[in-house]
Assembly symmetry: C2
Homo-oligomer: 134 residues x 2
């Protein structure tokens, strides 16, 4: 069996409260972390809730990075969904751990889209990664 | 232990290839399914890849719904991340199953943001859900 994608679910506990309540800081953190992984950013979209919390998504050619923060609990949930062999999703986790000053990180990696392929063949995660103009 | 959020990872296999390669159809499907769950939509953003595949995210006040499709494998990966008790994420899964004509669905529910709370108390998933103007 081979997988089309892999997804890392990260629980960032014991984060710096002010950092994970700052929408600009979070947006910049996710963009920098995503760039460091060599992923291709297509769009990003972040929202600040009142009085606490930020939600946001960076859509990448290789899938997405999403975040939801609960500063009042010093907690941020991050999902890193990738496909292909060219980017390393764990680089994103490592950068965000530092950006958020998280003292307690718990991660799980899932395989998504499982298919049986003939021996010696590989699953092509995308025939072509070029975006069509909308 | 109580959780701040819940996340449903859905594997939609054996979907209708043309439906899950149609960016407008997918965007409309996710919006309709999300509305049916009573979630509050904040933004949505979808992309079509050439020649195959669609990625997109609906950001909701209660977190997000994300999709990545591989029409060439009749497969779509969907993540439904919610918090609070007011919406039912499984409604979204059921609607999307019908919209995509998926003949084989596999789902897993994860709890996100686990905290120990004193007996008799509840974890508040958000002090206030109002969005601040950006």
């Amino acid at each position: 069996m081979e997988a089309l994608g892999r997804q890392i679910l990260v629980e960032f506990y014991d984060c710096d409260e002010s950092k994970i309540n700052d929408v600009s800081y979070i947006e910049n953190s996710l963009i920098q972390a995503t760039k460091a992984s060599k992923a291709t950013i297509i769009s990003h979209n972040f929202h600040k809730f009142s009085p606490y919390g930020v939600s946001g998504v960076v859509v990448i050619a290789e899938s997405h990075v999403a975040i939801h923060t609960w500063p009042e609990y010093n907690y941020a949930a991050v999902d890193i969904f990738t496909c292909g062999d060219t980017i390393d999703p764990w680089v994103i986790q490592e950068h965000l751990k530092d950006y958020f000053d998280s003292k307690n990180v718990s991660s799980m990696e899932m395989k998504r889209g499982m298919f049986r392929v003939p021996e010696g063949q590989k699953l092509l995660f995308k025939p072509d990664q070029n975006l069509q103009p909308n």
